[in-house]
Amino acid sequence: MSVLQKLMETVVQFMPDKAPDPLIHKHGYLGTPVSRVDGQRKVKGEARFTAEFEIENLAYAVPVCSTIAKGRIISIDAYDAERSPGVIAIVTAENAPKMKRPPLMDVRHMDKGFAASDLAVLQDDKISWDGQPVAVVVAETLEQAEHAASLVRVEYDEKAARVSFEDLKAEATVPSAVMGEDPELEIGNAQKAFAAAAFKVDNLYRTPHYNHNAIEPHAAIAAWDEDGRLTVFDSTQFVNGCKHALAGMFGLDGDDVRVIAPFVGGGFGGKAALWNHTALCAAAAKVANRPVKMALSREDVFRLIGGRTPSEQRVALGADKEGKFAAIIHTGVTATTTHAKFPEQFSLTPRHLYASRTMSVGQKVVNLDTVANTWMRAPGESIGTFALESAIDELAYAMKIDPVELRRLNEPERDPTKGTEFSSRHLVEAYRRGAEKFGWSGRPAEPCSQRDGKWLIGQGVATAYYPVFRFPAAVRLRIAADGSALVQAAANEMGMGTATVQIQHAADRLGLPLEMVSFRYGDSDLPDSPIIAGGSSQTGSIAAAVQVAVEKAHRELVKLAGNGSPLAGANVEIEARDGGLFLSGEGNKGETYASILKRAGRDFIEVEETSGMPFEVMKYSMASYGAQFCKARVNRESGEVRISRWLGSFDCGRILNPKTAVSQLRGGIVMGIGMALAEETLLDTRRGRIMNPSLAEYHVPVHLDVPHIEIIYNDIPDEHTPLGAHGVGEIGITGAAAAIANAIFHATGKRIRDLPITLGKLL
């Protein structure tokens, strides 16, 4: 961590808190289970996703991907492809427009956008991973483009590639930083404390490559106009980031690129950064001199778009006789590439969860010649909680203590490593409520003690944890003379319910009925700011900006109302309700927005505001927490695992929309079930090639894998966050895999530390 950063963190401790948002405690639309505002369009098939926009004169582009992991292209034989019916252009390094290298993510420079890999492909003959695009075929129809792409022959000079995580992990080195934090951290002498501890466990945990596999494959449509401006429809979680990254690559002004993404068919982090295909689509449109669509095939998605790194983590825990942690040692290795430089932050998890006399955490990273790894739902915390929460369970058995009780005993009063106050932490309460609802106390302590015919039964629990992030956001708010309001933000919707909850919010803050508020998003032509559907940050980020925009609009409206208004010179508080501004506690003393605007002869007023820097995140230890309870059945004969019950008890601040929030939490848990039991991207280390680039062979959970998932939540607002809320998009996956591994141990007495827990491991 830089000196400046350290200084900043010290300074913010003395900064006064922002006054808590009055809406936190007001009962309105927020807190009620409003159905999605875009629900009708989605169930009728009317919601248009990226590949579905109708553009005149559209051509189809298909990438040709490298089949070696490292080396260079000797030649590309496109003779047959060029002559194949319908082919318009074949784009290779020889005729591709010049593209600069895009930046990688830097939280301090989110405004510049970022790519997952800083390679600009099709710029030279170098091959950096198996799957790297080496050519793009553009044709009149999709069928023609796909066929012609299969005719392109590439000759390579193949070099030995570094692709085996298992073989190369010993060469891992300490990265310069992990998400801006020091990669290693020591409190006291953890090795010594561990050696002297009364109880201890010390094990290695392994997680494999995973892929997001959003059901909508990545897609882009690019069109250049006569003035050299670029419009891109892109399936992205970050329209502004995509815009700036593309502008940088093509040497354009930010204003000359427009990125549109109204509906995104799932992302989970896989569509947060700019990936090659979007730039290649724009490049192909330039070469073909007409609009081009590049909708990746499922296989292309596996080859061009990276997923989660494999990891190997060591967790050693020592406890004293009373069950207090004497040492937490959590170290390990992940993989990345020289062009992604992303050490997935598993070692941040243990820094904030439990009190311990000593601590030693840190992580290393090894460079491989593979597709760039990237963020996948709760990067770091998902795999970090698997290791840590499995280890805690192991320690609980070693100590013959209830695993819930062991966690309660080690609940910290302040952030264990930063020493900062928690803004809102009620994990123990989440455990208490969860345990009660789940019937945890009725669970036999001994493993292997429940059976139903051929099925062994066990219950497991684990902590869920995900930090709070917020980014400065810009919104534009328009209040019209008909009394309606339009909130506009360059936000992104991939299923979280972005529009719904922001409409609930604006309606409450403006005192309008829901149907009088609309929300426009998914377009980089809206106010520029780093609003990203990532880090579970989007709802809070936008909400903070909406709050200041509404405040500004209200000030302007009071001014506009003038002296003739009951609002003039009021010495009581003014509140927004009944479609306008009224004096607090004084009935109908006030005026509606419509009346103010009509009297002023205005069709509307419009304000634009940006929320402030997220200093609160530095001042406090801010995170969401949860307790994941599950029941697993393991077939004694076959080793098949079925999850028969789930209860997630969460502490995520105030729940803004129980309907959509519960769906997000459940969704995270479902992905956690996949992570625990079935998902794995198979990279053949002889070639560095992914061998199961298909939804038939990469097993995401199906309906029958998922039990009824019960969700309860504390619903205690965090006074320091916008609306008192925390993001809920990612925490659901955290702790889930550990809860399952722990339940399987409880059922069978077998501790599986290698994910996924496929049935062969339980025979």
């Binding site: 198996d130 076959s638 061998m691 038939a696 062979e697 029958l704 025979l763």
Partner: protein, 327 residues
């Protein structure tokens, strides 16, 4: 996908003619496997002969109590057929354990027999595969082979046959009716699919120009007590790691009749004749079931990732037989 000529055959004679006279022609039924493979450029026919209009879409009861199922009957139609559900529950069960509801509505019975392996290396052009390019070598042997064969594999190929339905048909001693330029013939089910040996690209006994017209299922009274069990990597919609189709008749605690076949273990649906031999007249109990399973799997060979399937297959056999025996 390569361009192809398309023709719809209205009658069998035309179909046979089109198939045998058109170079590099393939039959198109439900398309659930062929279209996928064509899109992957693994299958590259120059012509498709659509057989879905042929009058082979009926299920007929035979006077002896058996059934004849037309080649183009959709999988769902077989599974929902009252006679199948009543007399051959293992067949209905095998079908509903396969693929998804949508695919079962599309896939034909003959297409199910003709489906090709799901071997990851067969599907990948960048890999060596003796099925795709005879003599090229097999990358699956030293690669990911979790799904691969433990019985009857060769140095050329370790692929498995992916069908569920065929495992039940193997247990039922079904016959495959075919017609070709030289007329009709009937192939015993166990002879229809081949082991890989050194010609893994030749997967069935069908001769050039021949097409399947139907499946004959002989009567088998004790099949009323039969089961299909499939073990896979998720609860539904995944190919079998191991599957077992079995019918069992017990008389006075002794095995009177037994049919047993395995799926997911070999290049073809695996009729467990050795286990059947061991069980004939044996005690219908866990010990003899285990003995039979051991005998059947004695020649099994595991590789780096599929070794567990040997034990899994044995346990599944014992479990299924135990359940049928009422234990």
């Amino acid at each position: 996908m390569k361009s192809f000529a398309y023709a719809r055959a209205a009658d069998l004679e035309t179909a046979v003619q089109l198939l045998s006279k058109t170079p590099n022609a393939k039959l198109l039924g439900g398309g659930t496997n062929l279209v996928d493979l064509m899109r992957e450029n693994i299958e590259q026919p120059d012509a498709l002969v659509d057989v879905t209009g042929l009058p082979l879409d009926r299920i007929q009861e035979r006077p002896d109590g058996g059934l004849v199922i037309g080649a183009t009957v959709r999988n769902t139609a077989v599974a929902v057929h009252p006679v199948v559900r009543d007399r051959y529950p293992l067949l209905a069960q095998a079908i509903v354990f396969g693929a998804s509801g949508q695919i079962r509505n599309m896939a034909t019975v003959a297409g199910n027999l003709m489906q090709r392996t799901r071997c990851l290396y067969f599907y990948d052009h960048a890999a060596r595969c003796n099925k795709r390019a005879p003599g090229a070598g097999c990358d699956a042997i030293g690669g990911f082979n979790r799904m691969h064969a433990i019985l009857g594999a060769s140095d050329s190929c370790i692929a498995t046959h992916p069908s569920d339905m065929c495992v039940a048909l193997a247990a039922l001693n079904a016959k495959v009716k075919v017609v070709g330029p030289n007329g009709e013939r009937t192939i015993a089910f166990e002879d229809f699919h081949r082991l890989p040996e050194d010609t893994p690209h030749i997967e069935t006994d069908l001769q050039p120009g021949e097409l399947i017209t139907g499946i004959e299922i002989p009567p088998l009274g004790f099949a009323r007590r039969s089961l299909y069990r499939k073990i896979r990597d998720r609860a539904s919609y995944a190919f079998a790691l191991v599957s077992v189709a079995a019918a069992l008749e017990v008389d006075n605690g002794k095995v009177r009749n037994i049919r047993l076949a395995l799926g997911g273990v070999a290049h073809k649906p695996w009729r467990a004749t050795e286990a059947e031999r061991v069980l004939a007249g044996a005690n219908a109990g866990p010990e003899s079931f285990r003995q039979a399973a051991e005998a059947e799997l004695a020649p099994a060979r595991g590789l780096a990732h599929n070794d567990f399937k040997i034990e899994l297959a044995k346990r599944t056999i014992v479990g299924v037989l135990g359940e049928l025996a009422g234990g």
